[in-house]
Amino acid sequence: MVNPGVWIASLIDGLLLGFVYGLAAMGLTLIWGVMRVINLAHGPIIALGMFGVYLLFAYAGVHPYLGLFAVALLGLLVGILIYEVAVHRVLNAPHLSTLLATFSVNMMIIGTGTALFTTTPRNIDISLGRLTFGPVVLLGTRMLAALAAVLIAAGLYLFLYRTIPGKMVRAVASHRAAAELMGIPSARVLAFSFGLGTMLAAVAGGLIATFFPFTILSGGAYELKSFVICVLGGLGNPTGALLGGLILGALEGLIPIVLPVSWVPVIEFLLFVLLLLLRPQGLLGER
């Protein structure tokens, strides 16, 4: 009854989106991995990335893909600022304190954003054409977003494993006190890592903005997806986040073929609970 073309088209759609989900989740998982902080401002940062690209495009005429570089830099700086102002002081306090601190940041961004931009949905109207192979229609914007996500993930991997600052980040992540004894400036490394995490979130937001409409509240949905993805891939594991993103994307693509679309979140979160029960360290997690 359902022809195979639909399965292939839906799977490819889902996977392309999955790369971007994975990128956003990498930001969340990186911050957790390095400093054991769950960044509840993750969603609003994604939304800020969307608005960054939008505002540059709509008011300064900057092409969205060029705007992404500016958004990446701003994401890094905003992250460092958030870390210095809200996170650093409570880093060694119980988890509840960092949760509350990042949640406050979340509320401030949403409040300010609502006041400035209202919650009227915005659109970035660009088209990069489409490729059609039988039932499969590939949109240029989605392919480019997936490609960008892969490149950024590869760049992050190279950074963490092949550069001195990257090694510092991993050192601080594995044992902060020991890293400090080796002369690593942990406070700066932590601030930078937080910035890196928000940068990933902002860039993912910027990419999403090129194909979905958004409001300042749109980050929430991706934040939830990021949590599921992080648990799928193993919290603190960037490669796992990318894999988790692909799995989630594929599920979102394929489930609606056999079930009403409303069932997608039910199955996603069922999976989330099952994973927490059966393999809490995630698919790629070690422990």
């Binding site: 039932p135 979905f212 949905a221």
Partner: protein, 443 residues
Amino acid sequence: MRWMKWGGILVVLAMLAACAAPAPPAPTATPAGPAQPAAQPSPTPAASPTPAVKKIILGFTASQTGKLTKESKEQVQGLQLWLDDLQRAGGIRLPDGTVIQVELKFYDDESTKERVQQLYVKLINEDKADFLISPYSSGLADAAAVIAEQYGKIMITIGAASDSTYEKGYRHIFQIYTPASRYLTGAIDFLKKMDPNARRIAIVYENEKFSTDVVNAAKPYAESQGFEVVLFEGYETGTTDFGPFINKIMAAKPDAIIGGGHFQDGSTLAKQLFEKKVPVKMIALLVAPAVPEFAQLGDAAVGVIGPSQWEPGAKYSPDSAKAAGLPWYGPTVDQFVSAYKAKYGYEPGYHAAGGYAAGLVLQKAIEDAGSIETEKVKAALEKMDLMTFYGRIKFDTGKAHGKQIGHEMVYLQWQKDASGNLIRPIVWPEAAQAAKPIYPLSR
């Protein structure tokens, strides 16, 4: 406390009895349009010496605070404009020469049902309102209807599309808006008229009360018109990715897609249908196409059809009324639009038009009844079948008493004008058509 309410009713009834003029209802004269002040002589008809003047109070609540302020404000402005026109014309003239002056009385309901119910009791008991107008929105109007019915007061509802209020057996509530159940039936008529070969319809809608009400009525209607509903499925509020969903629509190979929900999801769906070049001949969506920001979609907006209660470009006129065999009443569309613009500085939307129409309908009913007695005015409303700038007005008198059965939605379609700007002329019904429809969509 109950005895106080009943006491209040007795007082009101006594007053009404005292007011009611025992004039035999003479045949109605040609109704005078209220928006033509120049053509209207001052209220000193040469024939009758000193006409009796009576004052009636028209009560309602407005949402001056809370979430419904914008729509409510428009509605009240429309009603206010009607009153201005009426006062310039000298009031409502009954066949026996009596002149009725209308006074508006309203309070802020804070957009809440609780306040609405308290305030309508107050309007009836303390302010002695003779007739009532509903607050904006289905929910608030439903809350007010309970009170109006308990006290046996006529209430004209505006901004209240939900069907359920009129299916509760009320006898005094009269609806101006086309009910939700008919929001998309016109799109189905349009499709049938444009393309006798179209057979397959996909209905996709937001999983939420209003949209579900609309499609639950549209589906059987489509089937009764010989269409096959090949997909009938809801999506969650806030959906942004319709990708996998669109693959499913494509597999069903529909001729037309109808449904949608509100602005955000509707515009996203339209955009993604365009990006994927989904090969359908017609797309009709709720709410989103009627919002000006829909133009942000650019080319993706072109060809998309949306229902609206009324548009400034509506082509209702004394001529179209004559063609339909109906009497015309009140100002023309142009008169209403320019008077509204002159008073408030911008073009009216359907909320404002509904407000004006509510006043107009009541005015006509009082004229026809030749009385301000509730039962006589009610009978006039039940008999009413006429055409106004807002469209046709006729009420159900059967099981769903008071439900609007005459007024049709208009369907606008986003098109590009000669210089490439996006415009949204009315394309359906034919009587109101302002531009040739785009059909089929070129995708």
